[in-house]
Amino acid sequence: MSLKLNIQRWLFSTNAKDIAVLYFIFALFSAMIGTGLSAIIRLELANTGSPFLHGNTQAFNVVITAHAILMIFFFVMPALVGGFGNYLMPLMLGASDMAFARLNNISFWLLVPSLILILTSALVEAGAGTGWTVYFPLAGIQSHSGPAVDLAIFSLHLSGFSSLLGAINFITTFINMRTIGMKYENVPLFAWAVLFTAILLLLSLPVLAAGLTMGIFDRNFNTSFFEYAGGGDAVLYQHLFYWWNHPEVYILIIPGFGIISHAVSAIASKPVFGVQGMIYAMWSIGLLGFCVWSHHMFAVGLDSDTRAYFTSATMVIAVPTSIKIFSWLATLYGGTIRLNVTALFALGFIFLFTIGGLTGVVLANSALDIPFHDSYYVVAHFHYVLSMGAVFSIFCGWYLWSPKILGLHYNERLSHIHFWLMFIGVNVTFFPMHFLGLQGMPRRINDYPDAFIGWNQVASLGSIISIVASIVFIYVVYDQLTNGLHQGNKALDSQFKPSFMGTNLNVEGYTGPTLEWTVSTPPSLHAFNTPAVLY
């Protein structure tokens, strides 16, 4: 293809599949930077006395801020919603594309300047050492003079705008673009998951944008929304931030739930157990997600009635979450289980996400959270749900669908090595953080008393193992892209063959509960010439 055609195809693309590929590339790029930053964090914490940054605490704070923002906004969200969502949701609905194809292009290309802004923010002046929560007054003009925090806030604005446009697109696609005869009850779980994610984005992001804009005004235009001296209230910022942030953690995990449902069904050769229950569980997780935000603020001085309410409301979410876990187990039960790498990541997800959910329920007790808040116990909690929940679901989705998406197969032995290195690495990194937190080690510090050396060294060792695992994954993808054809076209076979239950009468090999497997491998840009029809 000529340069001009390439530019037209990739820069001006309005095709959901091409845009999804762009999202995957973007996510991989950000993930590599984010991983590099995590290496800096763990090197600094590998011993007491600031061995890596030599006492530059502001630099440490900048690194943890950039790490979190890159991983959440520029890795997990683009990969799960932008990548898998764009590629698979239209296919699963039998739609030729997203409802607003050009809006889709804008959504992606807003992320690129947003990424540039956050990287610039880390590099100018002293950087934004605010933590990803951007709390005021720490993010105010007295504590962070210079443009770094403004750049970080603009970056969050832009990526928020991108997500909002994407959310509008996904909701419209879900409602309007289902193929002939497909009722809501026939829509596969991943498409439902993306719908709920989009609704959460739509309802929560404007509040974050408002909070951040008020911060910009405080910093630059002499308002005092969050400034006590001017009659403002810093706790107001936390309310605005967490109104968005708790739904945000479900935005990060619900698409992962969708992927795991499909993976579990594929590896067990069974339809998902209790599909309706799964849909209602996601819906109530999303709804309740808006009612629990102050469980992040137990330490700001809320009165005890408020804390009692937020403790109970938070624990209620454990019910729909457990419905999902038990439905996955019930799907596996009695299935003919194929223990491929998709299965390993799906089982790993179920096991480790449950641990993360359990520590979440511990933190939800306002009395317990007073000592645990801002300690490594919280860091352990959110890495179990994110690094092992959301990220495992991304790997699971990659190994499940990438042969279909690319038409190229991966090296299965290498992928198993990737899983085991990753599994060991993340557990060795994050499990000891529970102990550190229980012993009282605070988060967001770059040095600590000698008593904490032991588990910190273990965690740093674990992080090296996970980085090796990530390099293996990059090699798996490289190998898939360059040698994938020689590894055979096994998009269907590795997940569905041999099939002991199905008929082999059909034109194409696949008969099963989701549409994306019925189209050609790789799917053509306009996958449905004659639209699929549901009788």
């Binding site: 039998g94 009722k183 008929t503 009468l505 034109v507 509960p513 004659t530 549901l534 009788y535």
Partner: protein, 162 residues
């Protein structure tokens, strides 16, 4: 012209019976040629007649004034109560019985196969199974065994059923 007629005909084939009757009179009119823009479905004479009339200067055009081509055909159809592209739920009077190898459920297609989802007989009685039903080779549902077979639209022969 041909594409337009084909979609009219194919829509007619899967439409409800009383609509088929109204349809064939509309498609019969397609044989004539005239360039006057159609304002009713019965006035449609071909693609040339499916051009919007445009709005009076200084006014905002209505859909009826500006829609052109297939979108206009669809709009004119709606005004006559006819769903040109048959976008409603699938009605299959002949499918209240399960398809069998000898008497499959016939599925219209523009290719030599079509992706079909089976939800059982009666509709909705099992988890949806998706598969290909071919023109030459039938598709069969893993869950309930129902057999589907595609027939090509726009081919010269009539539909293989009824």
């Amino acid at each position: 012209m041909f594409a337009l007629r084909r979609s009219l005909l194919s829509a007619g084939r899967i439409a409800r019976p009383q609509q088929v009757a109204r349809f064939s009179s509309a498609s019969a009119l397609l044989q004539h040629k005239a360039v006057k823009p159609a304002e009713k479905l019965s006035e449609v004479t071909g693609p040339e007649s499916l051009i919007g009339t445009s709005a009076a200067p200084g006014t905002v055009p209505t859909d009826l004034e500006q829609e052109t081509g297939l979108a206009r055909l669809e709009l004119l159809g709606k005004m006559d109560g006819i769903d040109i592209f048959d976008l409603g739920p699938v009605i299959r009077p002949q499918h209240s019985v399960k398809g069998t190898p000898d008497d499959p459920i016939w599925v219209p297609t523009y290719d030599n196969s079509r992706i079909v989802g089976c939800s059982g007989t009666p509709h909705g009685s099992h988890e949806v199974q998706w598969f290909h039903a071919g023109v030459d080779k039938v598709g069969r549902c893993d869950e309930c065994g129902a057999v589907y077979r595609a027939y090509e639209l726009g081919a010269d022969e009539e539909a293989p059923h009824h």
